[in-house]
Amino acid sequence: MSTDTGLPSIKRGDLVLYSVLAVIFLASCAASWFLLSGARDRSDLVLEAVLDGRVVESVDIESLKRESTIAIKAGGGINILSVGPGGIKMISADCRGGDCLRMPMIGSRGGIIACLPHRLIVRVRSRGQANAANVNAIDSMTY
């Protein structure tokens, strides 16, 4: 019977398990780096609002010279985005959690704000990526 020594218990297999977890962690870092890269050149960036998998709003980032707001009707509520040269942030949402309001500002490096209760995704990505995704969307609609 083990006794409570007050010290963290470590067993011989732990190192193996922690190594496996470290590999998973590194893989997730690589995957996220891959997902977020590609959107570096500001002139090529588009802001997209995606509702239930469909792009409902698409704005050229270059065109955002001064602060403005965009209201998006989503999932029976309304989300208000503040967009400007500094970046894009969700400033108002009448969903239950309000998690999207606490998400960090997105901008020139690409990124994503998700309002999950309203199934709304706001993302910044390069035009090339956006076009490729739209082509895929059409393809997936046809079968």
């Binding site: 083990s2 409570d4 963290p8 218990s9 470590i10 067993k11 011989r12 297999g13 732990d14 193996v16 398990l17 922690y18 496996v20 977890l21 998973i24 962690f25 997730s28 870092c29 995957a31 996220s32 997902l35 977020l36 995606v50 239930d52 998998g53 239950r96 959690g97 998690d99 999207c100 606490r102 998400m103 994503i112 998700a114 999950l116 209760p117 199934r119 995704i121 993302r123 990505r125």
Partner: protein
């Protein structure tokens, strides 16, 4: 040597499941009051009671506690999205936890098992969010969640282990 704790059964098991479920629901509800800097990140204290039920009375009890917590918290919050994500997280984390504890208990410490369980939960949760929204970029959030899972997983495991040692005397002796 099998390092497992003596398991409780019968009415004691029922009492343990009820106690663990009640505590898991209360801590789960209390946790949602703490705003953490990143949405979706949780302290996961409620998982202590899943693990405790597993250690003291086996996989069946652990599954009971997890499922009861999931649905009762849904009835309290009415948040369909967190129900789906939570269910997906549990679908992955419960088998991982149970297999690691039941099969590899002699080689693995409880904090290590708990960390693996937290990893599995977060991966399942993110997978569900990706499927529900159709947005693979949500996966870019995973490294952050996994980094937090190391800390909360270790803490949860340590706490469950300590509780199991202390509660054993309350539950296992006449």
């Amino acid at each position: 040597m099998d390092a497992r704790f003596e398991r409780v059964s019968g009415p004691r098991r029922l009492a343990l499941i009820s106690l663990c479920s009640a505590m898991a629901i209360v801590t789960g509800a209390a946790e949602s009051l703490f705003p953490l800097p990143f949405p979706g990140m949780r302290l996961g204290i409620a998982n202590v009671f899943n693990l405790l039920a597993l250690i003291l009375s086996g996989p069946g009890s652990s599954v009971s506690v997890a499922v009861l917590r999931l649905f009762l918290l849904f009835f309290l919050s009415g948040n369909m999205f967190s129900l789906t994500c939570g269910a997906a997280g549990l679908l992955l984390s419960l088998p991982v936890t149970i297999v690691l504890y039941e099969r590899h208990n002699t080689a693995l410490s409880i904090p290590a098992i708990s960390t693996a369980s937290a990893f599995a939960f977060n991966i399942g949760q993110v997978a569900a969010a990706i499927i529900l929204t159709g947005e693979p970029a949500i996966a870019s959030y995973l490294p952050l969640l996994l980094a937090a899972a190391v800390i909360t997983g270790l803490a949860v495991g340590r706490l469950a282990e300590t509780l199991a040692r202390r509660l054993r005397y309350l539950l296992g002796r006449d």
